[in-house]
């Protein structure tokens, strides 16, 4: 088997194994309801994680995601409460804002040669601050269009539902996979992660690729914010704290190398499922504190980092022998 599939295979294996374990204890976990909820509950995180996958593949990081989600939610709540704008127009407007916001961070990262960590950290504070400027309260969204959107779902046999947002997440993943593996832009993202100096020498348009990557992450964070506002029917500036870290976790558990250049968008989806599964198990158990989610995810994350180190080590040895 090719080495690049190794982390992904490990991820899938862990998912299947833990699902089997859960199912052995609580057979209900196999029901389509649970699966439908798994999709719905993690939709916003999954969409944000697709953007994060591109950022990490390119060797960067985007810490602004959680704040952008909160900003989007508050923005929508405020706009829908105070103006007569149709939600779809508000969606388009907020997506334009968050995309521009991401692009701007990309511009700063590339042209000022600043580390992505610092720039997006600043972006994180800025977006959170803007959310607070709009409103410090949790504003409910009562627009009838929201109810209509929530009414859309695909009924699975066995009573489960694939909601609009759950389906949207799957669609975003599908498009993400296409972009990553079947477009020149996608290859350029991997090229940047492999080494931006070399990529530049080989003719990769480093500037536009960097800007597009962060713009994409901004766009998907905005979309994630829309999904989050549909999910919670509210906008609150303190919401979605730390979601960027959950997204990074999903990306890494999904087998993407944190240093960039190697990984799969599909892996991130499995990473999301693993996190969701742990959450579901703890809900089923009922007696465990929800902090166990964090502990288990921490352990998994650590194991994956070790696995990646091991693989890098092995491939280096293999090359020396070659």
């Amino acid at each position: 088997m090719k080495q690049k599939y190794l982390p992904l295979t490990a991820t899938i294996l862990i998912f299947v194994l833990s699902y089997a374990l859960c199912a052995a204890q609580y057979p209900n976990i196999l029901s389509t309801r649970v699966i439908g909820n798994l999709l719905t509950d993690n939709a916003f995180l999954g969409i944000a994680a697709v953007g994060m996958t591109f950022v990490i593949l390119s060797g960067g990081i985007d810490l602004s995601v959680g704040s952008v989600i909160a900003f989007t939610g508050v923005f929508l709540a405020v706009v829908l409460e105070h103006t007569s704008m149709h939600p779809l127009a508000a969606f388009a407007l907020v997506l334009a804002i968050t995309t521009l916001f991401g692009a701007l961070m990309g511009v700063i990262i590339h042209y000022l040669e600043m580390p992505a960590f610092i720039v997006t950290l600043a972006g994180m504070f800025l977006a959170r601050g803007m959310a607070f400027v709009l409103s410090i309260d949790s504003i409910p969204i009562k627009h009838p269009f929201y109810a209509t959107l929530k009414g859309f779902y695909y009924k699975l046999p066995g009573g489960g539902r694939i909601t609009l947002i759950g389906g949207l997440m799957l669609l975003v993943f599908a498009i993400g996979i296409l972009i990553a593996h079947r477009t020149r832009f996608g290859t350029n993202v991997y090229a940047l992660g492999g080494g931006s100096a070399t990529a530049k020498l080989m003719g990769v348009p480093v500037a536009s690729t960097t800007v597009k990557i962060y713009a994409l992450s901004g766009l998907l964070a905005g979309l994630s914010g829309i999904v989050f506002s549909l999910y919670t029917s509210a906008g609150y500036s303190l919401a979605a704290v730390g979601v960027e870290l959950d997204a990074i976790t999903a990306v890494v558990i999904g087998g993407t190398l944190l240093t960039g250049g190697s990984g799969f968008v599909a892996g991130t989806l499995v990473g999301i499922f693993i996190q969701g599964l742990i959450q579901t198990y703890i809900t089923f158990d009922g007696s465990l504190s929800s902090w166990w989610t964090k502990i288990l995810i921490g352990v998994l994350l650590f194991a994956f980092i070790l696995l990646q180190k091991g693989i890098i080590h092995l491939s280096r040895d293999a090359r020396q022998r070659a």
Binding site: L178, R184, T187, N188, G203, V204, S315
Partner: protein, 505 residues
């Protein structure tokens, strides 16, 4: 100007200067269609500067470049590639994480309906590589192949993109004999296709094996272009090292140290870096190390200093066995080492002259016993005066000093530790003539004080001037030792150039 129609690439009177030095001085270089042209010279001769001017990595200050008879002015390497000049470096400049096919077609992948047509890309990649007798799984990551294969992939990409001139910058440095043969087969085939190929290497056997003509640069000037068949090895080395063999300086070493060796290395070496060697150094002796670039000079120094741990042999000081497993261990035995590349291995650019000077001494004392500021100032002032380091004051960041003064500050750093064995790797590289003479004088005076020194230099006259013995290296092995009367530039050049019996290729 010779602009025969056979020349695919002509560089005429190329000038390039850097602050303080003239890297290229009116250099002419002509490359013919279908020839393999070796470009030779020691470090600092201007080879890489010339290449960078040809490929647009540097903008030249003067002169013109004609490609196929047309004046060109590549703005960057990408531009040069578009014009037809492709370059392959020793460090493969491809992306290890991408597949072989992606590396070959990055930025120009075949597309269908807006999506990359992976199957078409892989097919084209296989077709392209089959011209190079390479059957690979092109979907695998480049990193899973050996450096030699990566090198060929890089050549395939460069030729496919440019197709007129191929520059190979030390492509064989990390390849074994079998891989070199494969590479040469490919290069010959490209030559038959009419490409002009510039080949840079420091392996002279390979130059004779593959090149049609040789151009030698020295100190930024053109020494000459010759047909390989008409140039014997000795004359070539003389061209590179720049010795008119007639004019010998006969240095007399009245004080050639006698007595028991203080330092005795037996069968000392490290696999893959330097073959095991025996070396004795007496107190008050300067042992010079001569050899061409890549012959194992720096490797010898690094093994002696423990920067790369020796994997064979023993080291003794005054008859007592010592372990030199790390630079720290070597420093404890009162060794000092001034490395060759002071920019990367020596100075800490942003620290002041004073901090740079006390660095090694502080490291030896351990950070728990700091040297007082007054003591630091005293040491810094002492050596700034003793070595005549030209600096406005001792707190100036060392990166603002000239090369010669930086070199003296590094010497001061090791002298401050009062070493008993000092290893100097190219102490006079890249510094002006005045500072050069001062460093040579300093080496003499240290020797007179009874210090043992090992000095690596590519300047043969310089070695002749201060060495009591000269060790000659070739192909990572110590091949000759010259002492007393036999230390002449002529003898050293002979020993370096002597036909190679160990590694006939």
């Amino acid at each position: 100007m010779q602009a025969s129609s056979d020349n695919i690439l002509s560089a005429v009177r190329i000038d390039k200067g850097f602050p303080g030095t003239k890297a290229l001085d009116k250099v002419d270089f002509h490359l013919q269609r279908g020839e393999i042209h070796a470009l030779l010279g020691e470090n600092g001769a201007g080879k890489s500067t010339l290449i960078k001017c040809l490929t647009g990595a540097y903008r030249r200050d003067g002169g013109s470049i004609l490609l196929d008879g047309v004046d060109v002015d590549p703005r960057d390497t990408f531009d040069a590639q578009r014009l037809g000049i492709g370059t392959v470096y020793q460090e493969v400049n491809l992306l290890p994480n991408l597949s072989v096919a992606e590396n070959l077609f990055l930025g120009r992948q075949p597309r269908r309906f807006g999506m990359v047509d992976i199957r078409a890309m892989n097919r084209k990649a296989r077709e392209l590589l089959s011209e190079y007798e390479l059957e690979l799984d092109v979907t695998r990551a480049l990193a899973s192949y050996s450096v030699a294969i990566q090198q060929v992939v890089a050549i395939a990409r460069a030729v496919d993109l440019s197709g007129k001139v191929l520059i190979l910058d030390e492509p064989t440095a990390s390849l074994d004999a079998h891989e070199v043969a494969m590479l040469f087969r490919i290069v010959r085939r490209l030559k038959a296709r009419g490409l002009g190929i510039i080949f840079i290497t420091h392996f002279l056997e390979q130059v004779y094996e593959i090149s049609d003509r040789i151009t030698v640069l020295r100190n930024g000037r053109l020494v000459g272009t010759r047909d390989t068949a008409d140039l014997d090895r000795r004359d070539l080395v003389a061209m590179m090292i720049g010795r008119e063999l007639a004019a010998e300086i006969h240095a007399v070493h009245a004080t050639a140290a006698e007595g028991e060796p203080r330092y005795r290395f037996r069968n000392y070496g490290r696999r893959g870096r330097i073959d095991p060697f025996d070396l004795d150094v007496r107190a008050g002796e300067v042992v010079g190390i001569a050899g061409l670039l890549g012959s194992g000079r720096t490797e010898t120094a690094e093994v002696l200093f423990g920067a790369h741990r020796a994997d064979s042999g023993t080291a003794e000081i005054d008859g007592r066995r010592v372990e030199l497993s790390s630079p720290r261990a070597a420093i404890r035995q009162k060794f000092g080492f001034c490395p060759e590349d002071r920019k990367t291995d020596g100075i800490v650019g942003d620290l002041s002259v004073r901090e740079n000077i006390v660095l090694a001494l502080q490291a030896r004392r351990g950070w728990t016993r700091p040297i007082s500021r007054a003591e630091q100032n005293r040491l810094a002032d002492l050596y700034i005066r003793a070595l005549d380091i030209r600096t406005a004051d001792r707190e100036k960041p060392i990166k603002l000093l000239s090369g010669g003064n930086q070199q003296k500050a590094i010497l001061a750093r090791w002298l401050a530790t009062e070493p008993e064995l000092l290893i100097l790797d190219e102490p006079t590289r890249g510094i002006d003539v005045g500072a050069h003479a001062e460093i040579v004088r300093l080496i003499e005076s240290l020797r007179e004080k009874g210090m043992s020194l090992i000095v690596i230099s590519s300047e043969i006259e310089e070695l002749v001037a201060y060495s009591t013995r000269v060790i000659v290296l070739r192909d990572r092995a110590h091949v000759a030792e010259l002492g007393g009367e036999r230390i002449t530039a002529h003898q050293i050049v002979e020993a370096i150039a002597a036909a190679n019996e160990r590694r006939a290729s």
